[in-house]
Symmetry: C2
Subunit: 266 residues, 2 copies
């Protein structure tokens, strides 16, 4: 498929996307959550959502193209072509397309011993469309360029007030003495509310853990006992190092990682 260069997805980033992990059995276990976020994003943008059956059909076709391999499917919906400048057309025909690809390559060592995280200079400013996975992703691109420049594995994005918010493509969880913590992205008005973040938050709560969500200064990480990043493709990725701090991959963290992975091997 080729795209009309007048598509508003290209002109303004006027659309949303989802990246789903597909199992070897050809299933997308977190599809209902991805679908819900996709629909919420489209509603926030005032783009009519394609019928769920239509989205499901597109997903099935991309899964078919993976031919029994594990992989990812990326689904994009834009406002389509038209309008006068920034003004959307009165009748919108959204563009829907799917792409498929391999799982991102994180090594066994990185998954088992943890990755090195750096603090990006790129700041995550509040965003009126925070939480949604829209196509305006230049802050993430700029931050990811910093990660490459400094040779980190991933980069931590802070708020203008120096509060950790998330990594370029993953959410953050931190273990403190008697609770887990994940940044309150809704209150920050920034970041992407990750599907895996929700899943893990629910899992931790179901296991009797306290999960706090608020905004804390970067310096609080010196009291952390363990850190991990997560997203719906990679699952759980322990962090072993950030600036002068080092953390172990605790048994609790390894167990959580295994649980996340188990979602895709049922």
């Amino acid at each position: 498929m080729r795209l009309d260069p007048r598509d508003r997805g290209l002109a303004y980033g006027d659309g949303v996307f989802e990246t789903l992990r597909i199992t070897a059995a050809g299933e997308a276990p977190l599809w209902p959550r991805h679908l819900a976020r996709l629909q919420a994003g489209l509603q926030a943008l005032g783009i009519p959502a394609p019928a769920p059956s239509c989205l499901q059909g597109a997903l099935a076709s991309a899964i078919g193209a993976l031919a029994g391999r594990q992989g990812v499917v990326k689904m994009t919906v834009t406002r389509g072509v038209g309008g006068r400048g920034y003004l959307p057309p009165s009748r919108v025909t959204p563009t829907l397309f799917v792409q498929h690809g391999d799982l991102p390559q994180w090594s066994r060592v990185q998954r088992e011993q943890g990755i090195e995280l750096g603090v990006c200079q790129t700041v995550l400013h509040p965003d009126l469309l925070a939480g949604y996975k829209h196509l305006n992703r230049l802050p993430q691109v700029q931050a990811r360029r910093e990660v490459a420049r400094y040779g980190w594995d991933e980069g931590l994005l802070l708020s203008p007030r120096q509060q950790p918010l998330e990594a370029t493509s993953m959410n953050l969880f931190v273990r403190f003495e008697d609770h887990w913590w994940t940044p309150d992205l809704a209150r920050a008005g920034a970041g992407v509310a990750g599907v895996m973040r929700d899943v893990l938050q629910e899992k931790l709560v179901a296991q009797g853990m306290q999960v706090c969500s608020d905004l804390r200064p970067l310096s609080q990480l010196r009291h952390a006992e363990a850190l991990f990043l997560c997203n719906s493709v990679v699952g759980v990725l322990p962090v072993r190092k950030l600036a002068q701090w080092h953390w172990p991959v605790t048994a609790e963290l390894a167990a959580l990682q295994a649980q996340a992975e188990q979602l895709f091997h049922q």
Copy 2:
């Protein structure tokens, strides 16, 4: 021309654009300024700029397609296809494409008697790539939807601190008793530094006027004697009304409008 759906311009808004007004003689009088902003934006994003001769060739071809009509040419440069997620590929092949179209339709009445401006609820947050004309334009799309919803002609975007910054696709100039004022977008870290804004600022200064650029609260507009919006396609558009305030189209403003228009009739 059709576009690869994997283009990073679509995936992340990873690129920049310029919209140029073309005269009936097939000229783009402000091309050097547009070219400079395009190159500066590409540099900020770390995208290698196509050679000026290449950009000029694309421009000439789009002008040719206008076949002697006045119109606009839109030039877009993206980082092209590739990379791993947000990470740009190590070797970038930018995508360049041009589109042409008619001049936007502002009526003679709107141009002579002024337009009605509304204050958008969409706030313009600071942006690390402020000033550049990148492809992350969802705030402008959302603001433009407000303009349509309320039946205004254009919408004024404020900073989080309620300071006027710019309209959805135009910059703002305000006449106070003894000087002109235009918001200091660099200090706000937000907005697009318009080509026509630069031209008019230089013209006013050359005519002995004082042009102040700083940040002021919205309430200061109650002391304004005249207001106008501008961009490099429409030129100067007087504002006759904003909320409870009304302004005349002064002789000075009409003269400035004529001077801006003259740029495209030489």
